[in-house]
């Protein structure tokens, strides 16, 4: 009756009639394109003493991508967040420079010729993948007029997500992990796309079930214990993520999948107990699997004692990798300010230097200062995503935005933590930075959906329907 009552879970932070801020976005985009061009010039001058010939090509390509992205956002999502596109463009541009810089490395040329007979540069491929990613971004903004449409596909996306998660089991493992699908000459890492599809499923599912999960519980030692039957979903997801770990030996996807569910469960129900359960279950599960799965054991050993693993690898014992130690050395030799673009030796890492270990190059050539700036850029993307969730008016949009930014944050944490030796290494790629088609395409799609949700969330609210107030006031007749 009186609207003084505030509903705890449904409070929205209104953006208070924000302007569309497209011009801010344009200015930031120009900035975001100029920084990678500066970096190109820096790499060329440092390594070859002249401005690189490819600089104009890459710079122009990046500017074209950014321009197309901006025009589409300006036309089809005019109220969207002004920072998501520039941040993604900057990270993608710097990723291109990092890959191009590693392409210039004599050591990597030599290594590729020794192993494969010829060296193929990765940067042109990455530029191609980036444009495919941006095309998908544009397609999402054009076709997905309202993110709530995705809600209709809750259970379809569950099925598609599960199929994509299971499919890699039937393909041969690459470097010990079954995370690839090969169709003809096209290799796909479905895990990257699964995070988006599964976030759609979780958002749709939890939107319906959250009341049961949040309210039917007993209080015990300050924690809300859910009923036994409500534990079902979390146990199923836990079981699935363990199966991924066992059959695909992919710690990253497993962690991402389960972590995403726990994050969204927590956001949907506002119950800390789910986080506690999630942490207990994942710790228990990971320990159990690590006790019998050799691939996981190796990763854990390399994490606990990278030096011993490095020495064993040098002695030629198969199954040991020297990369974890080399990555740590790269960070160490970078110091606080780094060696400068093109002057580090992170190419010594060799295999996967420009994909899983690309952060080692960042850490060595830009130092702690640069590394922190990169983490800030990722943090800002996540912050914008969570902020979008706060501003969103519908529960599905809220959950989806939290899910997508949570998946993004988890992926950054898993990769950065792995390379820096905080957690065991996993086979995931740094969003936008690392060389790899699936990753960059899927992350552009993720940014596209976030921009669509933020456009809906920040759009000025429609005028309220003049329902009961429109009735005439009855006049008292004396």
């Amino acid at each position: 009756m009186s609207n003084l009552t505030t509903t705890g879970s449904n409070t929205t932070v209104s953006s208070g009639g924000l302007p569309s801020r497209r011009n801010t976005e344009l200015a930031m985009l120009v900035f975001a394109v100029l920084i990678p061009i500066f970096a190109y010039a820096n790499v060329g001058l440092a390594m070859n003493d002249r401005l690189p010939s490819g600089m104009l090509g890459y710079g122009f390509g990046l500017a074209l991508l950014a321009g197309v992205g901006h025009l589409v956002v300006r036309r089809y999502a005019p109220y969207a967040d002004p920072l998501l596109l520039p941040l993604a463009t900057l990270l993608n541009g710097l990723g291109l420079v990092l890959i191009w810089r590693l392409d210039q490395s004599e050591r990597l040329h030599q290594r590729a010729e020794d192993i494969f007979g010829a060296f193929t540069p990765d940067a042109p491929k990455q530029l191609l993948y980036s444009s495919i990613g941006l095309a998908l971004f544009v397609a999402i903004l054009l076709l997905l007029k309202d993110h709530r449409v995705l809600q209709r596909y809750t259970y379809i996306s569950m099925a598609v997500g599960l199929v994509l998660l299971v499919l890699p089991v039937f393909f041969k493992p690459v470097n010990g992990a079954r995370i690839w699908i090969s169709v003809g000459s096209v290799n796909l890492q479905p895990g990257e796309f699964v995070k988006i599809i599964i976030a759609v499923f979780f958002a749709g599912y939890l939107m319906v079930k959250r009341d049961a999960l949040a309210l039917a519980s007993r209080r015990f030692m300050g924690l809300y214990l859910p009923r036994g039957r409500d534990l079902g979903p979390i146990l199923v997801i836990w079981g699935l993520s363990l199966m991924i770990l066992v059959f695909e030996t992919d710690l990253g996807t497993s962690l991402l999948f389960f972590g995403l569910f726990v994050i969204m469960l927590y956001v949907a129900t506002e119950r800390t107990s789910w986080i506690v359960f999630g942490l207990l279950l994942s710790a228990g599960g990971a320990t159990a699997v690590a006790s019998f799965e050799p691939h996981v054991q190796q990763r854990v050993q390399a994490w606990l004692d990278p030096m011993a693993t490095y020495l064993k690898s040098k002695q030629g014992i198969p199954g040991y990798s020297e990369q974890a130690m080399q990555a740590l050395w790269a960070f160490g030799s970078g110091g606080v300010l780094g060696t400068g673009w093109g002057q580090g030796n992170s190419d010594l890492i060799g295999f996967a230097a420009n994909s899983d270990f690309i952060l080692a190059t960042v850490g060595e050539e830009m130092g702690l200062t640069g590394m922190m700036a990169f983490l800030m850029l990722y943090g800002l993307i996540v912050e914008r995503g969570v902020r979008t969730a706060l501003a969103a008016r519908d529960p599905f949009g809220k959950l989806l935005a939290v899910g997508l930014s949570g998946a993004f944050a988890l992926q950054v944490f898993v990769v950065a933590g792995g390379v820096m030796g905080l957690i065991p290494l996993t086979g995931m790629t740094m969003p936008f930075l690392a060389s790899g088609g699936s990753s960059v395409i899927a992350n552009w799609a993720l940014i596209g959906i976030l921009i669509r949700i933020s456009d809906t969330a920040r759009r000025p609210a429609p005028a309220p329907a003049p329902s009961p107030d429109a009735e005439m006031t009855q006049v008292v007749r004396p």
């Binding site: 009186s2 609207n3 500066f38 001058l45 300010l337 673009w341 640069g370 107030d469």
Partner: protein, 170 residues
Amino acid sequence: MSELTLTVMRLGFLAVLWLFVIVSIQVIRSDLFGTRVTQRTGRRADAQRPQQRSQPQRAQQGGGRRARGGGRNTPTKLVVSEGSLTGTTVALQGQTITLGRAHDSTIVLDDDYASSRHARIYPDRDGRWIVEDLGSTNGTYLDRTRLTTPTPIPLEAPIRIGKTVIELRK
């Protein structure tokens, strides 16, 4: 390339990268600190004392504090004593209370004889609570008199709006 140039470029790049981060944070600064909340003051009260208009904010807050602070005759709550909302109480905390059938009113009256924006109750500079009719169809009554100007509300005096009666109590 000379060592100096490379060092300058190296530090320059880091500076530019951090500049981008800082500019981004500037762009979102409005989000971090939230929107500014401004309290509206009674317009009529301003008109009566134009010499104090330069500091209405402070005066308003002072009034609110005095109203809350609870002198002997300051009401602390508004009680609906008749009508469909009987029993509803609203704490008086120095804010303006609007009454009417409009959905954005503080107290939404479900009363066919009330107007959309019927009346409002607000504290003046001295902490007295004032009731003002907002041009309603059927009028607002304090005791038996129909209000024509903003009027201070005595404690426990019935304010009648359509079928609803409200009172201020300690």
